[in-house]
Structure formats: structure tokens, C-alpha cells
């Protein structure tokens, strides 16, 4: 400990400084207890705004996306220019094959299966 005399002296200075600044226990206990949580005016406005933003975002996502679409519906959507001209009960065979005309057909007869 002899070698540490410099450090002992340094900490003694610190202790003396602390002792001159410390309050007694009763004074400390009678001190106003900090409010917990500190809800300030700014936070009282910011928190509901943040929550409202989250809810609005979630509602927008649901409205935009809706329920997941079945794969079949996506396939029909891909062929939509032609599909729009077909009767609702027309099957897949009624569609033109790859390599055939893809422009808007003049009549339903163009969409018949090649013989």
C-alpha cells in the first residue's frame, strides 16, 4: 500500500469534496421524488400522434392489398387483354396459343382452337 500513497491521497481529496456536497439522509429522503414516467406536454402529443400514424398506415396497407389473390387469378390477369373479350365461362382452351395473334380479335371465331 506504500506505493499507492498517491492514489490514496487522490481519493481522500475526492472524499472530502463529496462530504462537503452531500445532503443528510433525512434531507435526501424528504426530497421530491422524481415523477415516473415523466410525461411532458410534448410527449403527450407525440405518443398519440405516433400511434395514430401506425394505425393509419396499417389500414392503408390492408385496403391496398386486400386478401392475397389466388395464383389462378394472376394467370388470368396476365392474359387480360384477350380475356376481357371472352365470355365469363370460357375455358383455357378458348385462348390463343403462343405464337398466334395477340392483338384484339375481330370476332370470337378467331379465338377458337385451330383444327
Amino acid at each position: 500500500m506504500t506505493d499507492d500513497r498517491d492514489l490514496v491521497a487522490a481519493f481522500r481529496r475526492l472524499r472530502e469534496a463529496d462530504e462537503s456536497r452531500s445532503r443528510s439522509l433525512p434531507a435526501l429522503l424528504s426530497r421530491r421524488v422524481p415523477a415516473r414516467p415523466r410525461l411532458t406536454v410534448g410527449r403527450a402529443v407525440a405518443l398519440p400522434l405516433a400511434l395514430a400514424g401506425l394505425l393509419a398506415g396499417a389500414a392503408w396497407l390492408v385496403r391496398r392489398g386486400g386478401a392475397p389473390r389466388p395464383v389462378e387469378a394472376d394467370l388470368w390477369a396476365w392474359r387480360s387483354p384477350t380475356r376481357a373479350l371472352l365470355p365469363p365461362d370460357a375455358g383455357v382452351g378458348a385462348l390463343p396459343r403462343i405464337g398466334e395473334t395477340w392483338g384484339a380479335p375481330a370476332s370470337f371465331s378467331q379465338l377458337e382452337e385451330p383444327k
Partner: protein
């Protein structure tokens, strides 16, 4: 243990507890007072119970340290969610708050260059006069680990204090 007995023990330990609270809050007096007040209230309300398995000082210093750590974590979270203070928090800093003298300020600055663990071990040993083993129990460290922090902390503190000592000598 009755509230009166606990209060007596806390009063006996009060100067040392305040020093320890200052060490746990990096010398922030306002924060040290809040931490110490919270720890005392926890002990007096029976929310933190001393079982007698370790010396009272070891136990209470552990409570103070936990309170300081939990308040530090909470402040970090608050800073994450509210990086800009939305409203100034009133400080209970009275006019009767004497500033540190130069020597004490210099020691605090030098201690600030140490890691938290080194600072805690050195504080318990040199300021509180604990043996390294007791300091290790207070901090929940193994003896060897505490000893390593102690040795490295001493060397680092000496280096940090050295220029100051040189300036003082004529």
C-alpha cells in the same frame, strides 16, 4: 428488520453511500442523489431486503449500483425514442451546490478515463477502504477479475494523473 433499524444502518453508511452513488453516476451529483434516494426508499419500504448473507454495506452498495444501472438503461431508451428533449425536465439543483475544488475535479477527470469496472473497483478499495475480495463481492465479480481491474485501473489512473502532478511541481 424494522424500518427504524434499517434507517439507523442507512444513516451510519450515508456518507460512504453518497460517495458510491457519485461513483456509479460518473460524478453527476443530481443523478447520484436520485439514485441514493431511490435505493434508500427501496430498502426502507422492504422492496429490497437484506438477508444478512453478506455485510450490510456490500448488500446496499449492490442495490445502489443496480438502481444506477437501471436508470442509465432507462435514459438510453428514452434518448432512443426521444432524441430531442421535447420539454426541459426541471432540475432540483439548488444554489447551495458547491463546485468541486481543482484537486477533486482533476481526480474526477482522471477517473473518467478509466473503464467503469476499473473505476468501481478502485473506488471501493481506495475511497471506501474495502479489501479487493469485498469489492469483488459487491460488484459480483470473481476475485481474479477484480484484481485485474484493480491493477490495470491503478496504472491507468496514475498515467492520467501524471501530467497534473508534473504541473504542480515547481
Amino acid at each position: 428488520m424494522s424500518t427504524d433499524a434499517m434507517r439507523r444502518l442507512l444513516e451510519e453508511l450515508h456518507p460512504a453511500s453518497f460517495g458510491w452513488a457519485m461513483a456509479c453516476t460518473s460524478g453527476d451529483r443530481e443523478e447520484a442523489e436520485v439514485v441514493l434516494q431511490t435505493a434508500c426508499l427501496l430498502a426502507l419500504d422492504g422492496k429490497a431486503r437484506w438477508g444478512g448473507a453478506s455485510p450490510f454495506r456490500t448488500w446496499f452498495f449492490g442495490v445502489v449500483r443496480n438502481v444506477a444501472a437501471s436508470r442509465r438503461r432507462r435514459r438510453l431508451l428514452e434518448r432512443f425514442f426521444f432524441p430531442v428533449p421535447l420539454e426541459a425536465v426541471p432540475q432540483d439543483r439548488g444554489a447551495a451546490d458547491p463546485p468541486d475544488d481543482d484537486a477533486a475535479r482533476e481526480v474526477r477527470r482522471a477517473l473518467g478515463t478509466l473503464s467503469a469496472r476499473q473505476r468501481e473497483v478502485l473506488h471501493l478499495v481506495f475511497y471506501e477502504g474495502m479489501a479487493i475480495g469485498e469489492a469483488a463481492r459487491t460488484l459480483g465479480l470473481r476475485l481474479g477479475t477484480a484484481r485485474t481491474h484493480y491493477e490495470r485501473g491503478k496504472a491507468r489512473l496514475r498515467r492520467a494523473l501524471a501530467p497534473t502532478a508534473g504541473e504542480r511541481r515547481p
